[in-house]
């Protein structure tokens, strides 16, 4: 994937893809997409950079929004504050950034680094640190393989700024979350500053273009009146890092249980089978993102593999907040690349971290 330019025509596909990679969470990419659209309409020049074009000693920084999706739809993320976060990291580290990288490919944080790219002229590396969406900032492959999350710069629209320096990434999350709450439960942040070599070695690569291609394969299938799920499966067979992709279940929502525990949107959704799944039931558990899909005691997919709930007809991704009774959906499972499946990675964002007793088994062995 050579270095390319972002443009308006790519935006709808890209947003659909970031929602897909959000696996039910990550914040609705809609608002991030609007900001990006405004920048592009104003003539912004945004470069998406092949990670292999990074020099080993380049300086790469992640930018993102931290906080509650509900707040981000009111107090819209601030492009200006994200740029200031980046500048503070540069002052901390004593060098200018050469490139930006997303911490999280899924949801709203997939879009925001491009906004900063539009304002600074810095290229945005094709890749991220999660390969999807996760609820906490230590759940990045950057951190799993040794890049510290801190110093983390958190900033609000008023110019209030707090720098968190913690001895572990888990503690970085712990302290940053408090600051974020005080800032109104939304902070612009810059974190995971690293070398080009580290970005290439620890990142989940090519997820920016992956999002665009997922979105495109769904759209093209719709446009040719063919089945978007077949389109998706065919895409993943030929994608850069070939991935396992299967429809796990076809059903309608018959029960939906939500609760709040420690600020998480935790719950489960039960589907009753239709079509090929008639007579069966599927349960999907979520904590902001969809975590596991199981039929009775049989697991069909487990975090960190992607469990995506899509509209049965047009394959539009559905978020946990968008779930409603009677919705007809197909539940799709997609494998994640090896960098997200090592014992070190599973320690940080495998089933155990989310309180699930079952041992992680790759989705291609479950289905």
């Amino acid at each position: 994937m050579p270095t390319m330019k972002m443009h308006l025509d790519l935006l709808p596909d890209f947003l659909r893809g970031t929602a897909f990679l959000g696996t039910g969470g990550g914040g609705d990419p809609y608002v991030g997409g609007l900001i990006l659209r405004q920048k592009l309409e104003e003539g912004a020049d945004i470069t998406i950079m092949d990670p292999m074009e990074l020099d080993d000693d380049d300086f790469v920084v992640s930018v993102a929004n931290m906080g509650a999706p509900t707040v981000m739809v009111e107090k819209i993320p601030s492009a200006h504050a994200m740029v200031e976060c980046l500048r503070s990291i540069e002052r901390e580290k004593g060098r200018k950034a050469d490139a930006l990288i997303a911490a999280e490919a899924g949801g709203i944080n997939g879009t925001l680094p491009m906004v900063v790219g539009a304002m600074t002229g810095l290229p945005v590396v094709d890749g991220d640190g999660m390969g999807r969406a996760f609820p906490e900032l230590q759940m990045c492959t950057f951190g799993v393989y040794g890049v510290p999350a801190s110093p983390i710069v958190l900033r609000d629209e008023h110019g209030n700024e707090v720098i968190v320096r913690a001895r572990s990434n888990l503690e970085s999350e712990w302290f940053a979350r408090v600051v974020c709450t005080r800032m109104g439960t939304k902070s612009e942040i810059a974190l995971y500053s690293m070398s080009g070599k580290e970005a290439k070695e620890t990142g989940v690569l090519y997820t920016t273009t992956l999002a665009m291609e997922i979105g495109r394969s769904i759209r093209e299938a719709r446009e040719t009146q063919s089945d978007p799920f077949t389109g998706l499966a065919r895409y993943f067979e030929t994608s850069r890092d070939k991935r396992f992709c299967a429809v796990l279940f076809e059903g309608k929502v018959v029960d939906l249980l939500r609760e709040t525990t420690r600020g998480w949107a935790i719950g489960r959704v039960i589907f009753e089978g239709i079509g090929e799944s008639t007579g069966e039931r599927l349960e999907v558990r979520f904590q902001n993102e969809f975590l596991v899909a199981q039929q009775g005691k049989r697991m069909l997919g487990m975090v960190p593999d992607l469990i995506c709930i899509l509209d049965q007809e047009n394959a539009e991704p559905i978020t946990t907040e968008g779930l409603k009774y009677g919705q007809r959906v197909r539940v799709v499972g997609v494998s994640v690349p090896p960098v997200m499946r090592t014992p070190e990675a599973l320690e940080v964002f495998g089933p155990k971290y989310f309180g699930i007793a079952d041992v992680y088994t790759p989705i291609e062995e479950l289905v």
Partner: protein, 514 residues
């Protein structure tokens, strides 16, 4: 006695109801000035029932005029948009994803000012009164008469929007002002969009409501009149004049409420077969189930509470094609049915022709379809039934059969029991279900706010929300003793401190008489 009126794109329907009895009903053509059609329809039902105008205690009107104006970009006025939020939200201007032709119609008169609230209730910035006054003078100088005001987390606290309205009015006394907190929910962009659309409609709403008022005067009906809103409850005419945007989905809602009333069922699937489309919705406790996703109106994203309706391209005017595999719709001859269908001397095979050919109904010239292939007619009819069955199945929440109510002029297309349906009712007067839905509507009040369960306690928070919803229903004209809480929904919010929970409560009651 009450009169219910439904002003649609093609027909203006009216019913006269005495308590729960339909005394008379009529369909009249909608007129360009709206008023003449309303007068004709009401005169029609009064004449048919021989009721005197003095016996009418209320007139309830449902209308799609405002939705159509947005969709057609007609009769809209330019709008000034004032957002109270800086330094927050500077990254995203209003109107970003509006269709260009709609922005051309209303202009891009955007003012960003200091203000807004945090989710925990603090001010993002205090209102800068001098700044608002300056903006108001600029709006006045530009000759803009309609103003939409939005602010961050206005559903949590409306004080800044209210104060801004006072300040604007002081500098620009003729301004008509729409406040986002009065019409929308959490989600700044969608709420602001709704406020701007509302502001664009203020001139039309004055005309339409004025036309209704004049019609009643002309008819010597001296009763209060109401207009139905999205959720099937009524608003006073004066309120609609200020908030026309709240009528956007009243059409399907009235049709479903009317169906519930006519069939005496509170939980059922409603199938409304018209000339071009079939709308399938679900009644839960007598009210339409609402859509959970953002709804576009005329290409603009909103977060209105709209009934969850599935529309398929099947109606009395649907084109029928093929010999072996028969397809029906989605295209239709629409209002030209009485010229183009075979049975009316035309040359187009429609779903209505198929119904006549198979003997389901006897309208038009039956001989015109006598030559059709009998087996193909049966297959066409089968296709129609399968389309309806599939639509019902999509809207059901369980595999068990559900009761279904069939309304609308196209209900003649259905001849047999439908799969997945326990009992199928086709009530009398179902062709004017919309007007009946308007006539029987109640008045409601709604609260949608984020509470901190940790600070306020869950019980307290819900009780407070219920009190507020009831008070809003009384303000809207409900008889206090009749008010019921029909919905309490709690949505826990991720990441927010203090066990934050979004609580929605809806109260409805009967209209107080007199």
């Amino acid at each position: 006695m009450r009169i219910g009126v439904d002003v649609g794109g093609t027909n203006t329907d009216a019913v006269l109801m005495d308590g729960a009895t339909v005394k008379a009903s009529i369909k009249a053509p909608t007129t360009a000035d709206v008023g003449a059609g309303v007068v004709a329809a009401i005169e029609g039902v009064l004449a048919r029932s021989e009721a005197a105008p003095e016996t009418i205690t209320g007139v309830m009107i449902g209308t799609t005029q405002f939705t159509n104006a947005i969709v057609e970009r007609r009769r809209l006025v330019p709008v000034a948009i004032v957002r109270l939020a800086l330094p927050a939200t500077e990254s995203l201007n209003p109107l970003i994803d509006w269709p260009r032709d709609l922005v051309d119609t209303i202009g891009r008169n955007v003012y960003m000012a200091k203000g807004g609230y945090e989710v925990d209730g603090r001010e993002i910035s205090p209102l800068d009164e001098a700044e608002i006054a300056r903006i108001a003078r600029d709006i006045a100088a530009k000759g803009l008469e309609s103003v939409a005001v939005s602010s961050v987390f206005a559903p949590l606290n409306n004080a800044q929007e209210d104060r801004a309205a006072e300040l604007i009015r002081a500098e620009h006394p003729n301004a008509q002002i729409t406040l986002s907190n009065e019409i929308g929910r959490v989600g700044l962009i969608e709420r602001e969009n709704a406020a701007v659309m509302n502001a664009a409609l203020v001139s039309l709403s004055a005309k339409v409501v004025g036309a209704f008022r004049d019609s009643l005067k002309e008819l010597k009906i001296d009763a209060p009149f109401f207009i139905s809103q999205n959720d099937g409850t009524l608003m006073s005419a004066a309120y609609v004049e200020r908030y026309p945007v709240l009528t956007f989905a009243s059409g399907p809602t009235n049709s479903m409420r009317g169906a519930a009333f006519l069939s005496d069922q509170e939980n059922a699937v409603v199938v409304d077969i018209g000339g071009t489309t079939t709308d399938v919705g679900v009644l839960a406790r007598g009210f339409p189930r609402e859509s959970a996703v953002a709804v576009d109106v005329g290409g603009v994203r909103t977060n209105f509470r709209m009934p969850d309706v599935l529309a398929i391209g099947l109606g009395g005017g649907s084109l029928v094609r093929g010999d072996d595999a028969i397809t029906v719709g989605p295209d239709s001859v629409g209002f030209e049915l009485t010229e183009k269908a075979l049975i009316f001397g035309g040359d187009t095979l429609t779903a209505t022709d198929v119904a006549v050919a198979s003997g389901l109904v006897d309208i038009g010239d039956r001989s015109a379809v006598a030559g059709l292939n009998g087996a193909a007619v049966q297959r066409g009819l089968e296709t129609i039934h399968m389309m309806v069955e599939d639509a019902i199945d999509r809207m059901k929440t369980s595999a068990d059969p559900v009761p279904a109510i069939l309304v609308g002029g196209g209900s003649i297309l259905i001849e047999r029991d439908l799969a997945g349906v326990s009992t199928l009712s086709v009530p009398e007067h179902s062709a004017v279900a919309n007007a009946i839905g308007a006539a029987i509507a109640q008045v409601g009040g709604e609260v949608d706010r984020v509470f901190s369960y940790e600070q306020e306690g869950r019980e307290n928070a819900i009780a407070q929300a219920k009190d507020e919803a009831q008070a809003k229903a009384v303000d809207a004209g409900a008889e206090p003793a009749s008010i019921e809480i029909i919905e309490v929904e709690e949505i826990p919010l991720a990441y927010l401190p203090g066990a934050a929970c979004r609580v929605r409560v809806k109260a409805v009651g009967d209209l107080a008489e007199g």
